[in-house]
C-alpha cells in the first residue's frame, strides 16, 4: 500500500506544483521565457529566431518552455490568480481569438510594433488577411492535409472526395477527432461549392448533411488527437491515408523515407503565431524580440528548418533550401502554387461561435 500512498502524495505534490511552479520564472532582463510547442517546431524557432537574437544581444538569454498545448487554460488560470508569469506565448489562431475575447492577451499595433517589409510595405499589409485577431501576430501558415501509403493504395487519391470513397480507396483512414476541418471536407466531398461551405453549415440541414457524409466512412476512421499519431499509423500500415499537419508528413516522406505521398487537395490552412499575455513580465524585451523575430528574413529562415509557410507575403521569395537535407523547400510549402490549387482558410469567427455546440454534437455522433 505504501506505493500507492506515495503515488498519490506525488500526485498531490504535482498538483500543488502546477499552481506554484509558475512563480519561479525569469528574474532580470536577461532571461526571456518563450512558451511554444516543443519538438521540431521549437527547434526551428531556436535556430531561426532565438540564436540570432541572442547573438545580437549577448545579455539576453532565451529559454524555451514547451507548454503551448495547455496555454489557453494556463493563461486563464494565471489571470484568475493575478500572477501572469509568461511573457510570450506561441498559440494557434483560434486559441488566440478566444484569449483575446477574454482580454487575457494584448492587442498589438502591428505597424508600430512590427517591422515593415524590406520594400517598406507596412506590416499590417504584409500580413494582410492573415491578421485574424488584433491580439495575434501570425508566424507560419500550416495546413492540415492528407498523406497516403503509396504501396497500400491501388490508385492514389487525388481529390478530397477520394477520402470519402471507400470503393476507390478501401482501408482505414485517420482524421482528427474534432469537427473543425472535417465538416468542411465532408461538404466539399459531397459536392457543396467550397465558397459556400460556411453558409451551408449555418443551417441545420447543412450540419446534418456533413455528418451524413462522415457517416459513410465512420467505421473506417481512426480518430487522432496528437499530431504524431497519423505519421505513426501510416508507418505501421494501420491506415492507408490520414490527415495531419503538413510538416509532419514532410518528415515522414523526406526524412524517414517512408512510402508515403501527399494529397494537397483542399488542405485546410491554419495559422500559428505569437501572443503577449496581459500583465506578463519583460514587456519591453518582448516587443523588441517580436520586432526582430517576425521580420521578413526571420520568417523566411524558419522555413529552412520546418516545412511551414511564412506568414508574410514578402518572405515567400526568400525561402531557400532545407538546412540539413538540402532540399529546395519552396515546393514543399503548403503555399506553393501547385500545392495550393484548392485551399480552405478557416472561418475563425464562425468557428468561435459554433465550436462548442458542434464539438458536442460531433462527440455525440462519435459515441453513437
Amino acid at each position: 500500500m505504501n506505493v500507492s500512498l506515495k503515488q498519490s502524495a506525488l500526485a498531490l505534490a504535482a498538483v500543488a506544483a502546477i499552481g506554484i511552479g509558475s512563480i519561479s520564472v525569469a528574474n532580470a532582463e536577461e532571461t526571456l521565457v518563450v512558451v511554444s510547442w516543443g519538438g521540431a517546431y521549437t527547434d526551428s524557432q531556436q535556430k531561426a529566431y532565438h540564436e540570432p537574437y541572442m547573438a545580437m544581444h549577448p545579455d539576453v538569454k532565451i529559454v524555451n518552455d514547451d507548454s503551448s498545448a495547455e496555454a489557453v487554460a494556463k493563461l486563464r488560470a494565471m489571470s484568475e490568480s493575478g500572477n501572469v508569469s509568461w511573457a510570450l506565448v506561441d498559440a494557434v489562431a483560434s486559441d488566440a481569438i478566444r484569449l483575446c475575447d477574454e482580454g487575457l492577451i494584448e492587442e498589438i499595433d502591428f505597424d508600430k510594433v512590427l517591422a515593415p517589409a524590406p520594400d517598406g510595405t507596412p506590416a499590417s499589409q504584409d500580413f494582410g488577411n492573415l491578421i485574424v485577431s488584433p491580439c495575434f501576430i501570425p508566424q507560419i501558415v500550416y495546413s492540415t492535409t492528407f498523406g497516403y501509403r503509396t504501396d497500400l493504395v491501388k490508385e492514389p487519391p487525388t481529390t478530397i472526395a477520394d477520402v470519402f470513397d471507400l470503393e476507390k480507396i478501401p482501408g482505414k483512414r485517420s482524421l482528427e477527432k474534432r469537427p473543425i476541418g472535417n465538416l468542411e471536407w465532408a461538404l466539399i466531398a459531397d459536392g457543396v461549392d467550397p465558397e459556400k461551405v460556411y453558409d451551408v453549415l449555418d443551417t441545420e440541414e447543412g450540419v446534418d448533411r456533413a455528418f451524413a457524409k462522415l457517416d459513410t466512412i465512420k467505421d473506417q476512421v481512426v480518430w487522432w488527437e496528437a499530431g504524431a499519431q497519423t505519421p505513426q499509423l501510416l508507418a505501421d500500415g494501420e491506415v492507408v491515408m490520414g490527415s495531419t499537419y503538413n510538416g509532419r508528413l514532410f518528415s515522414v516522406i523526406e526524412e524517414e523515407k517512408q512510402p508515403v505521398a501527399m494529397m494537397w487537395d483542399w488542405q485546410v490552412f491554419d495559422l500559428d503565431g505569437w501572443v503577449v499575455p496581459v500583465g506578463g513580465p519583460n514587456h519591453d524585451l518582448v516587443m523588441d524580440y517580436l520586432k526582430f523575430a517576425t521580420d521578413t528574413q526571420r520568417l523566411a529562415d524558419q522555413a529552412k528548418f520546418i516545412s511551414y509557410g511564412p506568414a508574410r507575403k514578402s518572405s515567400a521569395p526568400l525561402v531557400g533550401k532545407h538546412a540539413s537535407l538540402g532540399i529546395e523547400m519552396g515546393p514543399h510549402m503548403p503555399t506553393a502554387p501547385e500545392n495550393a490549387k484548392h485551399t480552405l482558410l478557416f472561418n475563425y469567427e464562425w468557428w468561435a461561435d459554433r465550436r462548442d455546440d458542434l464539438t458536442e454534437r460531433f462527440n455525440a455522433w462519435l459515441a453513437q
Binding site: 500500500m1 505504501n2 506505493v3 500507492s4 503515488q7 498531490l12 498538483v15 500543488a16 495547455e70 489557453v72 487554460a73 486563464r76 478566444r98 483575446c100 475575447d101 477574454e102 482580454g103 477527432k177 481512426v222 480518430w223 488527437e225 505513426q232 505501421d236 500500415g237 494501420e238 469567427e349 464562425w350 468561435a352 461561435d353 459554433r354 465550436r355 462548442d356 455546440d357 458542434l358 464539438t359 458536442e360 454534437r361 462527440n363 455525440a364 455522433w365 462519435l366 459515441a367 453513437q368
Partner: protein
C-alpha cells in the same frame, strides 16, 4: 469520618483536586497533542483537497460575470416580463448600450459573449460584432441594436440573457445531464444526436466496473501465489506487478500500441496460428478494449497490494482444517479462504474503481472513440473549450456518483471491513 464522607461525594486526587477535573486536564493535553500531530496533514488536505472541491462546487453554479459586466442591463432584465411576447423596453436597450461600451473598454464584454455562447451558439460573434459598434449607437437604441445584428430583435436572445442574468445558474448542471431549456423555458431532454454526457457517465461506470473485475480476476491468483511463496520469490513477482508504475507513460503506450494494433504482435500471432484470417484482424486499441486492457494493466498493482497483504495473514492451516472437516477443495475455498480475503477485495476494488473513474490520460491515448471516459471530457472542458463551469458540474456529478456508490458499498460490504495493507 468527614474525609470519608467527602471522598464519597467527590473523588479527589492526592492533592485534593477533584478526580474528574484532573482527568479532563490530562485528556485535554492528550487531545491537543493529537491535534498538533494531525495538524500538518489536515492543513495539507484542506489546501490541496477541500479548497479545490469547494471551488469546484462554487464554479459549477457561479455566473457572476453576467450581472457584473451587464451591471445596468441585468437588474432590468430580471424585472422584465417576457411572457407577453414583446421585446424588452427601450430602457433595457439603453442600459445594454452603456454596458457594451463600458465592457468593450474594460475588455470584459466578450467574456460574457463566450459565457452566453455556452447557452446558445452565436452569442460569441453577436457580442463581438456589437461591442465594436456600440459606442456609435444613437437613440433609439432598440433600432440601433437590431441594425447591428438581427439577433437583437429575436425574443429568444433576450429570454436567454434574462435567464442567465442572475449571479448563479443551473445551466451547467443541465448541460452535464444532457438537459436543455426548450423554446418556452421548460427543461427538456436533449435530442438523441446531441446527448452525450449520460452515455459517458454510464460508460465510465461500466468500464470502471469491468476493469475492477478484470483486475480482481488477474490479481487474485497472482496474490495467492505470492502469499504462498517464500519472500524472495514473491518480491520478484511483486516487481513484475509493479513494473507498469516504473515505466514512463510514453513507453507503456508505445508498448501497448505495438502489441494491440491491427498490424501488432498479438494480431500477427493470431493470424500466424490461423485463429483469425488476415482481413479479420481484431481491433484491440483505439477503442474500449484498448482502454480496458491498458487500465487493467496500470491499476493491477492497486488490487494486488491489498489482496497480497491480506492473503499473507491467512494461515495455510485454515484450508487444511476445512478439508479435514470434510469440505472439498472448492467448498473449502468458497466458505473459508474467500471470506477471509473479502476485506482485501473490498479495499482493492474500491481503489481500482475510484481511480479508474477519474483516469483520463490512458483512455485519451488508447481509448479511441468508444473508450474515452467522462474524465476525458472534463479535461477537454478544462483545457480546450475552457468551459470550466461545465467541467466543474461534470466533476461534481462524478463526485456525487462516487459518494452514492460508496454509501451502498458501505451498506452492503461495510467500510470497516476494508484492509488496505
Amino acid at each position: 469520618m468527614t474525609t470519608e464522607a467527602a471522598t464519597q461525594q467527590v473523588m479527589t486526587t492526592a492533592d485534593g483536586t477533584p478526580l474528574k477535573v484532573s482527568l479532563a486536564k490530562a485528556q485535554r493535553r492528550l487531545k491537543i497533542r493529537a491535534l498538533l500531530l494531525v495538524a500538518p496533514l489536515l492543513l495539507f488536505i484542506l489546501i490541496t483537497f477541500f479548497v479545490p472541491v469547494f471551488d469546484m462546487l462554487f464554479r459549477s453554479v457561479e455566473n457572476q460575470i453576467v450581472p457584473e459586466v451587464l451591471e445596468n442591463t441585468a437588474p432590468l432584465l430580471l424585472k422584465w416580463d417576457d411572457r407577453d411576447g414583446e421585446l424588452p423596453p427601450e430602457e433595457v436597450f439603453a442600459a445594454a448600450k452603456e454596458d457594451f461600451v463600458k465592457g468593450a473598454k474594460a475588455k470584459t464584454i466578450l467574456r460574457v459573449g463566450s459565457r452566453m455562447n455556452y447557452e446558445q451558439s452565436g452569442f460569441s460573434s453577436l457580442f463581438r460584432k456589437t461591442a465594436r459598434r456600440a459606442k456609435n449607437f444613437e437613440s433609439p437604441y432598440k433600432e440601433a441594436f437590431i441594425k447591428a445584428d438581427r439577433k437583437w430583435g429575436d425574443l429568444d436572445t433576450w429570454r436567454i440573457l434574462k435567464r442567465e442574468s442572475g449571479a448563479f445558474t443551473i445551466s451547467y448542471y443541465l448541460a452535464a445531464m444532457d438537459l436543455s431549456y426548450g423554446p418556452s423555458g421548460d427543461i427538456t431532454m436533449k435530442p438523441k444526436g446531441e446527448a452525450i454526457y449520460l452515455t459517458l457517465f454510464w460508460r465510465t461506470l461500466k468500464l470502471s466496473f469491468l476493469i475492477t473485475i478484470l483486475c480482481l480476476a488477474l490479481a487474485y491468483p497472482i496474490s495467492y501465489l505470492m502469499s504462498t511463496l517464500p519472500l524472495k520469490t514473491s518480491n520478484l513477482l511483486m516487481i513484475l506487478v509493479l513494473l507498469p508504475f516504473w515505466t514512463s507513460l510514453l513507453v507503456r503506450t508505445t508498448a501497448w500500441i505495438a502489441l494491440l494494433q491491427q498490424e501488432g504482435v498479438i494480431n500477427d500471432l493470431l493470424v500466424y496460428f490461423g485463429l483469425i484470417t488476415d482481413d479479420n484482424r481484431l481491433a484491440m486499441i483505439h477503442n474500449a478494449t484498448g482502454t480496458v486492457v491498458a487500465m487493467t494493466h496500470i491499476l493491477l498493482p492497486f488490487m494486488v497490494l491489498p489482496l497480497f497483504s491480506v492473503m499473507k495473514t491467512i494461515p495455510p492451516t485454515y484450508m487444511r482444517a476445512a478439508k479435514n472437516l470434510g469440505a472439498t477443495p472448492t467448498v473449502a475455498f468458497i466458505r473459508v479462504y474467500f471470506p477471509n480475503t473479502v476485506s482485501g477485495i473490498g479495499a482493492g476494488g474500491i481503489l481500482v474503481f475510484i481511480i479508474s473513474i477519474g483516469y483520463y490520460i490512458t483512455p485519451a491515448l488508447v481509448g479511441g472513440v468508444d473508450g474515452t471516459l467522462i474524465s476525458n471530457f472534463i479535461a477537454y472542458h478544462m483545457s480546450t473549450s475552457l468551459n470550466w463551469g461545465l467541467a466543474a458540474a461534470l466533476g461534481v456529478l462524478l463526485l456525487g456518483i462516487v459518494l452514492v456508490l460508496y454509501y451502498f458499498y458501505d451498506k452492503i460490504v461495510g467500510v470497516d471491513n476494508m484492509k488496505f495493507g
